[in-house]
């Protein structure tokens, strides 16, 4: 991305991983509306174009293309963040799926999901938390699936493990930094829109809210936890799943 960044001194900075996906884009938009500069992190180079478009509309953003499974990724992200200031919020949103029935799932597919959905956010949180100011916030995107799901043993294990890490970090970094998790259920993304209608209908039928979430609704939950309105909330998991976690 070319051109100098014009970031007003004192502007809070949010780092968002998985920034090219539907939820990542919605979180980025919410953070910009909240007055934050945003570092958009993604393994997909298209994040550069997305950041450029946001900058053209006046947002203080920058892009960082990196593979979060690389143990050096945190250093790359911190170096990229320097152009925008010092981070105040980290949103660990990046994630992958490699679904399959438990007996047929390969160890490689199990480990790959653990690598991206658990190890990467842990490494990044541990690298960035010491640099967060008093009142800083880490938000990990877990999933309603952390409670259990068919055909996703790897994803369930990773997202459940992320809840455990969230609680441990919250205790470790209190009172300076708050650490919380958001657990979305079904969200309207390109992936859900590509599902056969009968499969989507079945999934939606198990959601008391009777629909999938708009990515913006997940972003609003993240925004709440990042804000001073949640200043007394740490170590918690906020289920943004339309009541799916309660339903049969």
């Amino acid at each position: 991305m070319s051109g100098p960044l014009d970031v007003r001194e004192g502007t809070p900075l949010t780092i968002v991983t998985g920034a090219s996906g539907a939820i990542g884009r919605a979180i980025t938009a919410e953070r910009i509306r909240a007055g934050h500069a945003v570092l958009l992190v993604d393994v997909a180079p298209q994040v550069i174009d997305h950041a450029a478009a946001l900058r053209a509309s006046g947002a203080a953003v920058a892009a960082c293309v990196t593979d979060l499974t690389d143990p050096g990724a945190a250093a790359v992200i911190l170096a990229a963040a320097e152009a925008l200031g010092s981070p105040t919020v980290l949103v660990n949103n990046a994630g992958i799926t490699r679904d399959g029935r438990l007996l047929k799932l390969s160890a490689d597919d199990f480990a790959a999901v653990i690598g991206v959905n658990l190890l990467a956010p842990m490494r990044l949180a541990e690298a960035i938390a010491p640099r967060l100011p008093d009142g800083g916030s880490v938000i990990n995107i877990s999933s309603r699936a952390a409670l259990g799901n068919f055909g996703q043993a790897n994803y369930v294990a990773a997202k459940s493990a992320l809840v455990g890490a969230t609680r441990a970090y919250a205790l470790r970094w209190a009172p300076r930094v708050r650490v919380n998790a958001v657990a979305p259920g079904l969200v309207n993304t390109a992936m859900t829109q590509a599902m056969p209608p009968e499969v989507l209908d079945k999934l939606v039928g198990r959601i008391p809210a009777a629909r999938a979430a708009d990515p913006a609704e997940i972003a609003e939950t993240v925004g709440f936890l990042a804000s001073s309105r949640a200043s007394y909330t740490t170590g918690q998991v906020l289920f943004a799943c339309g009541g799916r976690s309660l339903a049969a």
Partner: protein, 122 residues
């Protein structure tokens, strides 16, 4: 062996390796029709100690739940059991036996000792 006791982990790489080892153990045992009871230290379930240990404990709980959901029709017996440092070994073994024998507790986490009372549910 019915009871699965995870190895302690001291790095991210070890965490990934141990979760993967547990997954492969469950796969093998359940495919063979053997029950699995995962043993966890209660302090790690509460996440009051090392983040790596908390992540491991919660990852294993997730794995147990996922396996129980998939194994409903096949009748897999898979559960988790947390214990305190002073939990009596004979009591622990009784619970392992009970959970291994029970289809109706598959996917459950049984927490011994009462230290979880008044704390957030898992």
């Amino acid at each position: 062996m019915t009871a699965y006791l995870p190895h302690p982990v001291t790095s991210h790489d070890e965490l990934q390796a141990e979760l993967t080892r547990a997954f492969e153990h469950l796969q093998g045992a359940l495919a063979a029709g053997s029950p699995v009871v995962v043993l966890l230290e209660e302090r790690n379930v509460q996440a009051t100690e090392e983040p790596l240990a908390a992540a491991l404990a919660h990852g294993l709980i997730g794995l147990v739940r996922a396996a129980a959901i998939e194994g409903r029709q096949a009748g897999w017996h898979v559960a988790a059991l947390s214990y305190l440092p002073h939990t009596d070994d004979a009591e622990l073994q009784r619970w392992v036996g009970s959970l291994a024998a029970s289809a109706s507790t598959s996917g459950s986490l049984v927490r011994l000792g009462g230290e979880h009372l008044g704390r957030v549910a898992v």
